[in-house]
């Protein structure tokens, strides 16, 4: 009796910085909210992230970045999805991201940016309200 859609989310950590604590914490919060979380690991290129997201048929990609490369990595991910004709995977970002960057990122199609002030509950709630499992 499995005909029930589950939200599937990919948590990815693009860029070169070597910490994935934040990504792991958010992955656990998603799991505890009942989502299936594909965790894809550190140091991923946007190309790898997009390819994995397609194979995993996720509803959302959550990008986490501390190193400040978000201005390239986040938009590139959105761009690659578009190039591949994928228009139904929501892309979000998290990390220490200055306000002025947030606006620009949203403009290119990042649906939401979570900064260190956002609680896990708030993040989960946002996903539940904005990401539909297919």
């Amino acid at each position: 009796m499995g005909n029930k859609r589950h939200i599937r989310v990919m948590v990815a950590k693009p860029g070169l910085d070597g910490h994935d604590r934040g990504a792991r914490i958010i992955a656990r919060a998603y799991r505890d909210a009942g989502f299936e979380v594909v965790y894809s690991g550190l140091h991923q290129t946007p190309e790898e992230i997009v390819e994995a997201a397609i194979q995993e048929d996720v509803d959302m990609i959550g990008l986490s970045s501390l190193a400040g490369a978000h201005n390239y990595l986040f938009p590139r991910t959105v761009e690659l999805l578009r190039e591949k004709g994928v228009d139904d995977i929501v892309v979000c970002g998290g990390g220490i991201i200055p306000d002025e960057d947030i606006l620009a990122l949203k403009e290119v199609g990042i649906k939401e940016i979570f900064t260190p002030g956002t609680t896990l509950d708030e993040v989960v709630k946002w996903v539940e309200e904005n990401v539909k499992p297919r």
């Binding site: 499995g2 589950h6 965790y39 790898e48």
Partner: protein, 331 residues
């Protein structure tokens, strides 16, 4: 043929990914597509890998991918991780170890959660195997955590079933004996760089040899290999053993049609019929409230469960019961 089936057979990644999602989510419309795909299946070689959490299964799969791809063969991976019984969610982390293959078009990796719906895992994994098979993958590797019966059943439907242990797993080896020892075609002692691999080797050997009769008369005798997945040591030899086992199957059981051997087909079909009946009958009864009313009647002492079961099942199957249907007035 439906366009989905056509796309899958043509190897369209997106179509394959979405179909597996629909299978996993139990969408009834996938049945028609799977019917169309079935004639295109039966060509892939399926390897099942199971073992306790953290023994190094994903690391091993990563190395296997590397070697198999050097031979220019294509691979599909289904990596199954447990669903949290508390939330119904899951963290699927096997991909992390296989990252370096994510841009390789000859490799398709899919993570799946066990979910825990009745009979669901085995059924949906088998269907997912069929999809990867139909898309033309030469090898399909299924990784499961060998804890539940479901997970063990999944790898049992492989051509070659591999059981991974690590040194010093004394008690765990006993546990394996109870459930899956019989199903292992190849045993691996991974992390052989650690202390105690000789002891584990002799423990395992002893247990396998206790079943000696099973291996008499040219039957396959499961080899035990020491490997160090993380250092790629022993992985080539492991792949050679898989090839030997494949040859053995070809010689002894109508080749790769092994998965369609009569007793296997019988088991799988039985399971499929059971699941389908439950899905069709129980779900309908639950929706109409009939099931709950029957429960009430039993609780209130108006009806015995045997009659209740008759009342529920027989009409649903279009069978009239032999005798008078007791207590039907309360339903």
């Amino acid at each position: 043929m439906s366009s989905v089936a056509e796309k899958v057979i043509a190897g369209d990644i997106r179509a394959v990914a979405r179909l597996i999602r629909d299978i996993d989510d139990g969408m009834p419309e996938v049945r028609e597509i799977l019917k169309e795909l079935y004639p295109s299946t039966g060509k892939a070689y399926v390897i099942g890998i199971t073992g306790a959490p953290g023994v190094g299964k994903s690391t091993l799969v990563d190395q296997m991918l590397n070697h198999i791809r050097k031979d220019d063969k294509t691979v599909g991976v289904l990596a199954v991780d447990p669903t949290s019984p508390f939330s119904g969610g899951a963290i699927l982390g096997d991909r992390v170890r296989m990252q370096r293959h994510s841009m390789d078009e000859g490799v398709f990796i899919r993570s799946m959660a066990t979910r825990g719906h009745f009979g669901g895992l085995t059924q949906s994994t088998r269907s997912a195997i069929d999809v990867l098979d139909a898309m033309g993958k030469d090898y399909i590797i299924v990784e499961t955590v060998g804890v539940g019966q479901d997970e063990v059943d999944v790898v049992k439907s492989a051509h070659t079933t591999v059981i991974v242990v690590i040194p010093g797993m004394g008690d765990d080896i006993q546990a394996i004996k109870a459930g899956i020892l019989e199903t292992g075609d190849i045993f691996l002692i991974n992390k052989a760089d650690r202390e105690g691999s000789d002891k584990t080797m002799s423990d395992l050997r002893l247990m396998i040899d206790m079943d000696k009769k099973k291996y008499e008369g040219g039957k396959w005798k499961p080899p035990i290999l020491k490997v160090q997945a993380v250092f790629d040591a022993g992985v080539m030899e492991f792949l050679e053993e898989i090839e030997k086992h494949r040859q053995y199957l070809i010689e002894t059981s109508d080749g790769l049609q092994f998965r369609r051997k009569r007793n296997r087909v019988q088991d799988e079909l039985t399971e499929m019929v059971k699941n389908r009946l439950i899905e069709e009958v129980l779900e309908n009864l639950t929706e109409t409230g009939e099931f709950d009313r029957a429960v009430d009647s039993i609780v209130e002492g108006k009806l015995d469960p045997y009659s209740a079961c008759d009342n529920l099942v027989l009409p649903a199957l279009g069978v009239s019961s032999g005798g008078p249907v007791k207590g039907s007035e309360v339903l």
